[in-house]
Point group: D2
Chain length 276, copies 4
Amino acid sequence: MSTEEKKTGRACGEQWWTTDIIEMRPGMIRLRGYAIEELIGRVSFPAMIWLMLRGELPSEEQADLLGIALSAAVDHGPQAPSIAIARMAATCGVGINSAMASAINVLGDVHGGAGEQALEFFGGIAAAMDGGATLRQAVRDRLDHFFATEKGYVPGLGHRFHPVDPRAPRLLDVTRDFSARGVVAGRFADIAEAVEAEVERRKGKKIPLNIDGATAVIYGELGFPPPLTRGLFVLSRSVGILAHAWEQSQRRERNKGPLPREWLWAYEGTPARGLE
Amino acid sequence: MSTEEKKTGRACGEQWWTTDIIEMRPGMIRLRGYAIEELIGRVSFPAMIWLMLRGELPSEEQADLLGIALSAAVDHGPQAPSIAIARMAATCGVGINSAMASAINVLGDVHGGAGEQALEFFGGIAAAMDGGATLRQAVRDRLDHFFATEKGYVPGLGHRFHPVDPRAPRLLDVTRDFSARGVVAGRFADIAEAVEAEVERRKGKKIPLNIDGATAVIYGELGFPPPLTRGLFVLSRSVGILAHAWEQSQRRERNKGPLPREWLWAYEGTPARGLE
Amino acid sequence: MSTEEKKTGRACGEQWWTTDIIEMRPGMIRLRGYAIEELIGRVSFPAMIWLMLRGELPSEEQADLLGIALSAAVDHGPQAPSIAIARMAATCGVGINSAMASAINVLGDVHGGAGEQALEFFGGIAAAMDGGATLRQAVRDRLDHFFATEKGYVPGLGHRFHPVDPRAPRLLDVTRDFSARGVVAGRFADIAEAVEAEVERRKGKKIPLNIDGATAVIYGELGFPPPLTRGLFVLSRSVGILAHAWEQSQRRERNKGPLPREWLWAYEGTPARGLE
Amino acid sequence: MSTEEKKTGRACGEQWWTTDIIEMRPGMIRLRGYAIEELIGRVSFPAMIWLMLRGELPSEEQADLLGIALSAAVDHGPQAPSIAIARMAATCGVGINSAMASAINVLGDVHGGAGEQALEFFGGIAAAMDGGATLRQAVRDRLDHFFATEKGYVPGLGHRFHPVDPRAPRLLDVTRDFSARGVVAGRFADIAEAVEAEVERRKGKKIPLNIDGATAVIYGELGFPPPLTRGLFVLSRSVGILAHAWEQSQRRERNKGPLPREWLWAYEGTPARGLE
């Protein structure tokens, strides 16, 4: 048998799918090196999430803090497109998995990406501090750059509905508690508050931290890279998506549209015409 | 090299994915045996759809009739969950393919399955006729069975919004034209009209054929199996889904919810309470 | 203003979207009646999942057991279509939310429904016991019915890959522990073991409980209705889906196909032919 | 009744969903101003697609050319992630619409965006020509810029599998035919060929136009904006996705994985270890 044949055989097929996450043989499942039957009952669900994503088990306190961030963002009601979609999909004759998929699918750059953007923003400030800048200077430089070249709202601050998002100050308090107990450094909490203060100084009014900024603080403290935090948000919001899809599915509505059934939409296009 | 090794090599991998649809080699693409460069410019888009799904090319007239059915169901406005979802998704920061996917995903048993159910219903009557029953008797037997054991509306009849769906009589007329020209037999048109008449006789009022019944007639005339007609409906409605996603994407709204922004939803759950 | 106008105004719009899950006003978010800032930091992530789905908070032990079931099913490797799809999608230029959605979407009746079916099966036996049957008789009757009228494998038993699924006996042991501590009744564990024993008696060989049967036991003990357990499986498997999508996204592959790139698929359709 | 109340009533709800595409009243459906019953049977499926997306009916020849481009890209076999996903999804117990949705969802920037990128590239050259540059100069400037600042392959050229993609030269020939008959100007065909020639001059070898470049030529000739061409590609590839999902669904496989069932994947992660 030639070496080339070996390379194109079963070994090559198996090599095409490689992973560091899971090892299996008949009767054996290992996640990140741990036998599944050892993990079951000994690690919490947030710890399992952490292990799967990071490759190592967190401390119990780290897992607790992750669970807190995951719990905070589960739902924001049916005005959120994702929740409305889950409910509408549940009336269309698809499984609950598909209702969830249609909803999760829209947690994109705009609907699901704000936390990622906030962590990128805070992380840039942290990197400047690693390079020797003071917190104050790093925040000022980043905001100078932001107002000079970027548009819109400072990532992680402000909310179009809540004057103060009740989740954000509570999450900051919790982070401070974990920091006081030595679980995390508190650095991202410092950064977020410094950004908030500096924006207030410049704008003359407070634009408070929002849920995306607050969860970004926690994910940053725990060492998650920004793009992965979108995935964490998906895990979190999936809970609300499931709850709403489930509630709706109990109601026997069919093909639920966005408006009361007797209402239509406004047509503003070309008036009635014939084919020449 | 053992025979077993041969079976688990590259040949085995390639055998895992088999298809009758497409053959490829570098510089060569054949669909159902035809070189792609021969098909391009010589067969219409509906003919290509037919070839891919059925394995043989249709006559030009058959392709025309398929195209007519596909064109008839492209849109029914943003009160349809699929269209609303496409528009909402387009504001959430995902690609137009993902906005389309979230929408297409909800064309399930309830939202997308009515044509399939109508064709099953009409097809059962056709089968009874193949077994020797007259049209009249086959329709009566099927409706006897329906009213005795099944629930809800007779498949293919009635519409919750349109007293008469303007698409249905037009599609029947077109089918009659194609039948007169010998393209199709007209049998499913006969069946649909006989069902409509018998239901009117029993109910004392006309419940007219709807779009799902009318397209089921055409797909039945053309020999498509019922479950495949849901796929044809997806191809058709995808056009409206794309048009609405595209229109919405030009409007710069962000995270469009189902209701005007200043409206919320009605909360009817447990009143405010504390954690003991 | 007429009463009718009132009904078609803002109140009617808000009434179109009703929920028992979440209440919001500017600066206020309540989930199932609890202020979000009270929940944050005081309930675990599994407890939050329970609250959202069931409307009441579980005991700490109930939440722990739910978390154990959720942790057990997070991954079964890239031979599972959902995991393979997540990895392939991650190479196609879509966000991680969309890679997850394409994968979650396939957790349908076959891929994601086994736990639901197992709980329906065990629940039927529990209902017979509520009606006065002994465990032994209820199991025998249900299996008589199954072998007489249904097809395939007994729900919750057997695995095409694992002779004994290492997750199942461990989950049963854990359930017994929680039962010994009075958290759950242990009734579904009894039922599952009785089914396993009776099938062994009839078949002459043991077909051991699988992961779907074992998680069905736990969800049954905790009082979840069968169709909701598919949603719980989605939450669980989403963790593995995210982990694999994330790992794959770090690898810079583009448009990853199912087989090594130099392999094709086997074409078995119509040989090459020309257009007449 | 106050003005404010009027604004927040039914009119406001209906205004929240506005569209130029479809107008409906009971018994009436108009698309872009045309009564649906007038369109049915009188416009081809590609013409309907054009009308829905652009707002006006195309000429018959324009519709034909659109149909040709749509037909050319329907399938590229199961090594494409979208097709493999459609087939795998079809074995997981979801409807054909959901199998299609999981597949369409991955036609993202990498898998579905090449045509869009090619049309952006060619369109930039066309814009330079509108500004007074010669074809030759505009192509050189654009390529200078590309090689100086962008990475990877020139959009629309080259294929990792086909030395010459058999679809591309055929589509160019067809475009030239339509140009000779005055249907289109032929400008994008000129641009594509000039780009191909200039790249050959610089690289010393021909990197031929691919399917994405060739369909971009046609969509450019027909006046479609680049981001909409991704939507057109979705409509086109949906045909292959449906054909493969349908073929697979006839085969009774369950949970089809990416590799032959007896093969696993290669685990390359942390070796087996215990929980301390």
